[in-house]
């Protein structure tokens, strides 16, 4: 049941005023892969200069006192009341706040002020349910994604090298919202055919060099729409050779020949190897081939391990800063290489990783940020949110090895007691449904209220929502160490709905499941894998 409570907005003493902030757009905290798109996809270039800002009252300056110790006191904004059914966790600023003001705290304060009206049921134009949560506005988001696959105007030229992502984001998002995506099969096939290079892999468009990101996006899109014609258009033999050329002697993969090497490369490459059932053997033509380095996977998990930082999170490449998007890539990569219960603790410091990952969730926003001291952003609903099922699987189930049997068997009941999750599903769902939905006719999902929706955010916010609404199980078969060798562990996941007595969203707002490793419809990767494994070696 739904009833609008927006009329009650006047009860709040929220003092925020929208104003233009000339030239001071908050730097986007989204993964950079998306940021050019952020700009490209904002329909109106003027928007960049019209992000709402919030005037924040002067901080009580002067003595450090103990003001900052007491929740809300001395904080720029006091929420007087909020709808009874919304926990105050989501309607009040954090209870500890340092008085020292810096660029970071300024942006963080502004973001809280930006989100609070949405979270506390006070945003005009949104209809909240009894729990203070708006419905998922499918009737606007679905056309938004369909539209993103139609002809695009000239300013999208900046997306010319990442157009295949548009296919993947739209198809994934549409599927999550219940659409039949096979309607796009024929057009997808004729669209991607000229993008494949005879030397293996796909580029960003016709005549562009092959690159792992578009190759990943296209391969998964083809797997999603399914069918022999779609799957068989991929030249697996050429792909295998090309992957060999991308493989580096340190274990990593370059994104394109001569391109950068990072954790995305590791993840994209193993997704391709796994789904397409490619031989692991490294072509001797590969520049990285040596007697000690004979497979596409040689040294790969060891290289991924080097990306864990002192903070516990994962960086894009060794020496860099922990970042949510790379954390997902690293974990998903490992979960393709082996049984999560064995391989994750083998290569990563799990307690530090969990600590770091958990600290990415903020209140009152409820959503995830990508890095320490950065802002919440809807896309991390997937990049950070999507790490949880993989880590939870790592902590659950029977022991993966002798040495740690004791510790792992003990953890199971603890997780069970927590509603079987390590993060706040409620927080994430509130952030997504309250703050990430574009409430205008435009539709689509977004980073945060001050940002325009785009198909990247629409896809990954929905993926995060799906993950928060479902529980994934890793169905262990036999010895976890063996599972790793057969590389079948990525196909042993099943899901169930998370049903709670105090569910904050209505059942109609539950979206479909996406595979926790491949992030495409549950079952699609399995079918593609079966299709290719029935083929003779090339």
């Amino acid at each position: 049941m739904t009833f609008p409570i927006k009329e009650k907005g006047h009860r709040h003493r929220v003092v925020f005023k929208r104003r233009r902030m000339p030239g001071t757009n908050p730097p986007s905290s989204s993964a950079s892969a998306s940021s050019t798109l952020d700009r490209a996809l904002s329909s109106d270039p003027q928007d960049l200069h019209q992000q709402p800002g919030f005037v924040i009252e002067e901080l009580p300056s002067g003595d450090e006192g103990l003001d900052f110790l007491s929740g809300g006191l001395g904080h720029p904004v006091a929420m007087a009341t909020s709808a009874a059914m919304i926990p105050d966790l989501f309607t009040t600023p954090p209870c500890i706040r340092d008085p020292l003001n810096t660029g970071t705290s300024q942006l963080q304060d502004e973001t809280i002020q930006e989100c609070l009206p949405y979270l506390s049921g006070a945003e005009y134009g949104l209809e909240y349910n009894a729990q203070g949560v708006p419905h998922l506005d499918r009737k606007r988001h679905i056309p938004f994604l369909h539209k993103s696959l139609r002809n695009l105007p000239a300013p999208y030229v900046v997306a010319d090298a990442s157009r295949p992502w548009m296919f993947y984001w739209a198809l994934t998002g549409l599927y999550a919202m219940g659409e039949d995506i096979t309607q796009y099969r024929d057009r997808l096939i004729s669209t991607v055919r000229p993008i494949q290079n005879a030397t293996g892999g796909f580029g960003g468009g016709n005549g562009q060099m092959s690159h792992l990101a578009p190759t990943y996006a296209i391969t998964l899109s083809l797997a999603m729409v399914g069918g022999e014609e779609a799957l068989d258009l991929i030249d697996r033999k050429a792909m295998w050779k090309w992957l060999g050329a991308l493989k580096q002697s340190n274990g990593a993969f370059q994104m394109s020949i001569g391109g950068e090497e990072d954790v995305r490369g590791a993840y994209c490459a193993v997704v391709l190897i796994s789904i397409l059932g490619l031989p692991l053997e490294l072509s001797p033509e590969s520049p990285s081939w040596s007697p000690e380095h004979t497979t596409l996977l040689s040294g790969l998990p060891e290289w991924v391990a080097k990306c864990q930082t002192f903070e516990g999170g994962i960086s894009g490449k060794p020496d860099a800063e922990s970042h949510g998007a790379y954390a997902f890539c690293a974990l998903a990569c490992l979960c393709i290489l082996g049984d999560p219960r064995a391989i994750i603790p083998k290569y990563l410091d799990v307690p530090r990783l969990i600590s770091w990952l958990s600290a990415r969730q903020y209140a009152p926003e409820g959503g995830f940020a990508g890095r320490t001291n950065k802002l919440v952003d809807g896309c991390y609903s997937h990049w950070v949110g999507g790490c949880w099922p993989l880590l939870e699987a790592c902590l659950e189930g029977p022991s993966p090895s002798h040495s740690s049997s004791e510790s792992y068997s003990i953890k199971k009941p603890a997780l069970e007691a927590l509603g079987r999750s390590l993060y706040s599903r409620e927080g994430l769902i509130r952030y997504i449904l309250c703050c990430c939905q574009d409430e205008t006719k435009r539709g689509g999902l977004r980073d945060k209220p001050s940002h325009n929706s785009d198909s990247y955010h629409t896809c990954y916010v929905l993926a995060g929502l799906s993950s928060a609404q479902h529980k994934w199980h890793f169905n262990a078969t036999g010895n976890p160490m063996e599972a790793g060798l057969t590389r079948s562990s990525a196909y042993q996941w099943t899901s169930e709905k998370v049903v709670e007595d105090s569910q904050i969203y209505d059942e109609e707002d539950r979206v479909r499941t996406l595979h926790p490793v491949f992030v495409i419809p549950e079952g699609a990767a399995e079918e593609a894998r079966a299709h290719f494994s029935s083929k003779e070696a090339f």
Binding site: S32, T36, F68, C95, R97, D98, L100, T102, G103, T104, L149, N151, L152, A154, V157, V158, A159, D160, R163, M166, A170, L188, T191, G203, G204, N206, G207, Q208, M209, H211, S256, G258, G259, E260, A305, K306, Q308, F310, E311, D319, A320, S322, H323, K346, D349, V350, P351, R352, A359, Q361, T372, N373, S404, E406, S407, K411, L415, A417, G419, L422
Partner: protein
Amino acid sequence: MAPKAPKAPKAQPKAPDPPEEYPTISAKLQAEYLASRPYQVLKDTKGLSNLSASEKAAYANYRFLETGVWKTWGAAQQKEFLKTVETQKIPTPLPLPRDLGRDNKGREIASYTPEGFAQFRKKERQLSGLRRESARFRERREKARRKQKGRGIEDSEGEIEDERNRRKFIGVLQGKKMGIYEGDPRWDDVVPIPQDDGEGALAAIAYSDEYAEAMGYLRAVMAAKEHSPRVLDLTEHIISMNAAHYTVWLYRASTLFALEYPIDKELSWVNEVALENQKNYQIWHHRQLLIDTLYPTISSDPTAIHALETSERDFMTQMFDQDAKNYHVWSYRQYLVRKLNLFNTTELQSIEVLLRSDVRNNSAWSHRFFVVFSDPAYCTPGSAATAHDPRIPADIADREIGFAKAATFEAPQNQSPWNYIRGVLRKAGRELASLEAFAEEFVKLPSESGEGEDVRSSHALDFLADVWAEKDETAKADTALRLLGDKYDRIRRNYWEWRRGLLDAGVEGKMKGLSVEDVS
């Protein structure tokens, strides 16, 4: 009257043309058409039976003219006929005006005014003249090229410039600007490859003509594996329209190296592009490729290295002025530190500047950790970031702990220095408990009666929970974790509860032991 008759009516239809009187060229042509057939008009208006004999005779002769029958007659007969036509002043009938078609803007040419049409015709004549000249130019160049197998066609700059202007003029005359490359004689030898978009392509982008043309030429030079100075111009042009185009960047890099183009020149160009494209990935990888190429040439020259170090640092400072957490700039910086061996105090100081302006800049903290704990002077090569490195000197660890502590006092709820402290302790192989007293500066647990609780940092509380777990002071650890879940960091309640569960089982320490061992 009869013989003179034809003259009189003839003069009438072909009255002096006042051009203004015709609103359009088609009206004018139609009028001229009729004016060349006075006897047809006469017959149509009066009817054949009402014509005088001489008019009838003139009409008959006109018909002979119109049909061309007279050409089948004998020579003598023809001669006589033409003479009659002349004396009767029968004009030669003009052909029916043909459809003039449309101009390049889609307008019916028939709707032009007569003088507009005259101008149009004049332009067309000019155009075809220019096109002929241009075609001759191309042919000549093509021949020369074939003779010289592609390289070095020796045309004078003047000639090329003339041709360039000619094409510009053609563009103006045809009312449709010629593409940049189409209009540039230097590109005549390249046949652009249009984009194959497949049928009914999804998310097809409506490229500007400029972008579409440039990409057509890029596909062509890439197919021909051409690495020449003009490729640098072409890639620069495309990058100015779409800086996120990895193919263009990679192809530009390979061209630079093939041409042994001066790296410093390229670096300063890249600086401009980077400042305009803050979030761009490709630029930083490109820069890395440049440094990789430059470095071997200066590696034995400390002055050159130092100059590079300084200019790179200055440039990054400029970038950080706009966004001090730009992930790509920081990643590049980590690369540069390793490449140029910048594990030095200047590097640390430049990070401190950033931290002084924003102590919450986690990217700066993260970089500091890398610089301090990867320094080959005293670190174990390849030691994992989360692993104990026994070679870390105690004074370095002390210094870093001191640095982070000071920052913590500035803003106790800032997570960055807390993470940093944990990192340092792990690296140095020290117990968390060694900083128990420090963390307790920010935390007072409530007494049994529930009084005196004072928590100024949830991170301190988290830290202490681990300290107390380490020391087997389980009850205190449990209180800390409960406070976190219930009060100070409620959004992470499940996590804190899970930690409590580990505490009960006493496995936390073991788990840590396990992972550290396995990683190192």
